[in-house]
């Protein structure tokens, strides 16, 4: 197996290598974009833009250097470009986005682990809390819409969401801590 993979790599072109790396880091790149631009449709569009640009600039990428940092630089440029073009959207100011981008975590390689951890944590939520999250994240409803659907106040929906997300964050941290090497047998 290892021999096969090594042989495959030797024959890769720069664009293939960038594509392979992009695929590997796509979730992290998407997360980077989403943090700066937390609107799913736009984030997806920008991810595609970033992919195209990365492929076009594949020859500029130095193999062995930090690919995620390289591609996030492209993503950052794309997000700011988008932000300036969409001044009417209620988004962070370009300066705040820049500051936020400067503070980006160096590596988010644990994205797959995070998804698995989140799934397990979701199972522990009460049905009512899960329902609110589904409305928010699966159906993309705003807290106000959710409140109307459930006959609650927006404040109570915000509180429910906050509590659920705080729990999930803590639970994920614990799960990831548990899963990080040395692994603890289940």
């Amino acid at each position: 197996m290892e021999r096969l993979v090594t042989r495959d790599r030797r024959t890769l072109q720069p664009s293939d290598e960038v594509q392979r790396l992009f695929l590997r880091h796509s979730a992290a790149v998407r997360g980077f974009i989403y943090t700066l631009l937390p609107i799913n449709d736009y984030a997806d569009d920008l991810l595609q833009e970033v992919f195209i640009t990365a492929m076009e600039k594949a020859a500029e990428y130095q193999p062995g250097t930090n690919f995620q940092a390289w591609v996030c630089t492209i993503a950052r440029f794309k997000v700011l470009e988008f932000r300036r073009a969409q001044a009417r959207l209620r988004l962070l100011s370009p300066a705040a986005m820049e500051a936020l981008a400067d503070n980006a975590p160096s590596s988010t390689d644990h994205e797959q682990d995070a998804v698995g951890a989140l799934r397990r944590c979701l199972e522990k939520l009460a049905p009512a809390a899960r329902q609110v999250l589904e409305l928010r994240y699966r159906d993309a409803r705003t807290p106000t819409q959710i409140a109307e659907m459930r006959g609650n106040t927006p404040l109570s929906v915000n509180v429910a969401l906050s509590r659920a997300r705080a729990f999930l964050r803590r639970c994920m941290d614990q799960q990831l801590l548990q899963e990080s090497p040395p692994r603890v047998a289940p």
């Binding site: 209620r90 962070l92 300066a95 936020l100 503070n103 705003t142 807290p143 106000t144 509590r163 964050r169």
Partner: protein, 590 residues
């Protein structure tokens, strides 16, 4: 900006419900506060992961629907595999015929990674054709369908081409429910009135994970560790589950029952490690600088964090360890009263915590109490009674059930001098006194409970006189008394109750939940007394036994509650059941 504010604004931003004013504040915080930027990334990660998980589920559902329409699954699989990971095709070829329709997508470890691979591949192809958006959705959907096959292969063929190993079953954990087992490392067995900040996590049956922090602002939660230790967390408290036989108690109180197989179950505290040696014990962390522990049964080993010294403690022993490693060893014969050692019913818990001021049960004491011994207050107000004179002997109730205590000797008095501030009732306070007693026909006069000084002084008492219950309260001016109608000294167990109902302006007496007497409460002032609460005898010593009203009989329980309890809330139904025939009275069934 406080962390709480920051979190609220970031969530509002991510939820797209932020106002202009809030956005302005968030902009400023992001620009000027590094900790806000750090928090932003963390919250956004959870947000994005939530979208990922839910979109995955949606994609899988769409893919499954399309999968039904694909005629050649193996070709679809090949197409996807060629596009994504050529080396897997070769492996798959040697596993011909393994593709199955019932692939379990939801349980794969890597659907998102594979989905990303497939979707981006499709994107690249369609974008080259210049038909970007129109083909995107269909391509993604088709790829998702192919992906299901890929995932099926992935799960059916491990990296070396062999069948994946079945998961190693964790050690089953026996819970309260016979035959029920739960996974490692611990599980919430039962909960009483426990509200966590994330209350959603505290359902009975929820699995707890190593490293998980449990915060109980109130209530009780019973956790069963994988190795079998049963831990009753007392809210408010905060613990971390370290592994299947270790808990870290940050603050608060817990009681642990440790069976043999969980020997060396450990409670780690800021100053101490309390290690079980086959026992039942309680641990309390009131501050980070001091840990208190008590052995209810068996023995424990205590290791100080500072200095690493080890000490052994036996039954009824306890002590404290401070952050300098100093040990203060103390006998603690009644410390157990401060802990719940088994899970009460919701109703019991509510009664004790919400209305019960003091609760003394005599049916579970040691065989004989001598002067100086204590009767613990199960109401956890710390109103432990001290036996001053005489003796209390445990009665072997019928059918092997404990039947309370017998007051032995010419002068038996239980008192507590610490109740000066407590158990004081003002002019507007309702309260209820209850006792489970058995008095023989030879003893027509008996003091149940009093806080009496002298006539025309604020006080109250409850006694049996000439076989009838009497309840008096006095504010120094008025001294209304209610007298019962039915004799209670018939040699049978009875639940007696005396109620001062300040709302209705009544004094009431009950026998076995039945109204036995009622009169108007004519007092207008407070009932505050300078004397302690007494059981079994009036305060002071008189030579005339008649005026002492010495209780000669058997007593199983006395409770003092806040409020005018209705018969449905009397202790007869809450603490004793028909299963305890020595204490159950047929009238309770009415």
């Amino acid at each position: 900006m406080s962390p709480h504010d920051s979190e609220r604004l970031i969530h509002a931003y991510l939820d797209r419900s932020i106002s202009d004013d809030e956005l302005e504040r968030l902009n400023e915080a992001v620009l000027n506060q590094p900790e806000v930027r750090e928090l932003f990334w963390r919250l956004a990660e959870v947000d994005q992961t939530l979208y990922t998980v839910y979109s995955e589920l949606e994609s899988q559902e769409a893919g499954l629907a399309l999968l039904e329409e694909l005629s050649d699954l193996e070709d679809a699989a090949d197409a996807a595999l060629v596009a994504i990971e050529p080396h897997r095709v070769r492996r798959r070829s040697s596993q011909s015929g393994v593709v199955q329709r019932h692939v379990d997508v939801s349980s794969t470890d890597r659907p998102q990674e594979l989905f990303s691979l497939a979707v981006l591949r499709v994107y690249r192809v369609v974008s080259r054709d210049g038909a970007r958006r129109s083909w995107w959705a269909m391509g993604a959907l088709a790829t998702a369908a192919m992906l299901l096959v890929v995932i099926g292969l992935y799960r059916l063929t491990s990296r070396d081409g062999s069948q994946p190993s079945p998961p190693v079953p964790s050690q089953p954990l026996v819970t309260d429910t016979p035959g029920q087992t739960v996974p490692a490392p611990a599980v919430v067995a039962s909960v009483t009135d426990a509200i966590d900040v994330d209350a959603v996590t505290l359902q009975p049956g929820a699995t707890l994970l190593a490293g998980e922090v449990i915060v109980l602002p109130r209530g009780l939660m019973q956790v069963v560790m994988q190795r079998g230790a049963r831990v009753l967390l007392h809210g408010p408290c905060e613990v971390t589950l370290v592994d299947d036989n270790t808990l870290k108690l940050h603050h608060g109180r817990l009681a642990a029952y440790v069976p043999q197989q969980a020997k060396r179950f450990t409670v780690d505290t800021p100053t101490t490690r309390v290690i079980d040696l086959g026992t039942e014990f309680g641990v309390e962390v009131a501050s980070a600088r001091r840990t208190e522990f008590h052995v209810f049964d068996g023995s424990i080993e205590v290791e100080t964090k500072a200095g690493g010294r080890r000490f052994a403690f036996e039954h009824d022993e306890g002590g404290t360890v401070d952050d300098a490693g100093r040990l203060d060893r103390q006998p603690s014969p009644f410390a157990a009263a401060r802990y719940w050692r088994s899970m009460p019913t919701e109703e019991q818990y509510r009664l004790v915590t919400e209305s019960t001021l003091a609760l003394w049960r005599f049916d579970t004491l040691s065989p004989r109490l001598e002067p100086g011994d204590h009767v613990p207050d199960l109401g956890r107000s710390g109103l432990h009674l001290r036996l001053e004179t005489g003796a209390l002997e445990q009665l072997p109730g019928r059918y092997g059930m404990p039947g309370g205590v017998q007051f032995v000797g010419p002068s038996v008095r239980l008192s507590n001098d610490d109740v000066q501030r407590l158990l004081q009732f003002g002019r507007n306070d309702s309260f209820t006194l209850e006792a489970f007693v058995r008095i023989s026909p030879n003893n027509p006069n008996a003091t149940l409970i009093t806080r009496d000084v002298a006539p025309m002084r604020p006080s109250w008492w409850w006694r049996v006189e000439d076989g009838l219950a009497r309840f008096m309260i006095g504010d120094g001016v008025e001294e209304p008394v209610v007298i019962g109608r039915r004799p209670v000294n018939d040699g049978r167990w009875h639940h007696l109750a005396a109620v001062r109902d300040a709302v209705r302006g009544e004094l009431r007496l009950y026998i076995n939940g039945e109204l036995d007497g009622i009169t108007s409460d004519t007092t207008r002032g407070d009932l505050y007394s300078i004397h302690s609460v007494q059981l079994g005898r009036f305060h002071g010593v008189r030579r005339d036994a008649y005026y002492d009203f010495q209780f000669h009989g058997d007593m199983a329980m006395v409770r003092i509650s806040r409020g005018a309890l209705e018969p449905s809330a009397f202790a007869a139904r809450q603490f004793f059941t028909r299963d305890d025939p020595s204490l159950w009275h047929e009238e309770f069934d009415r």
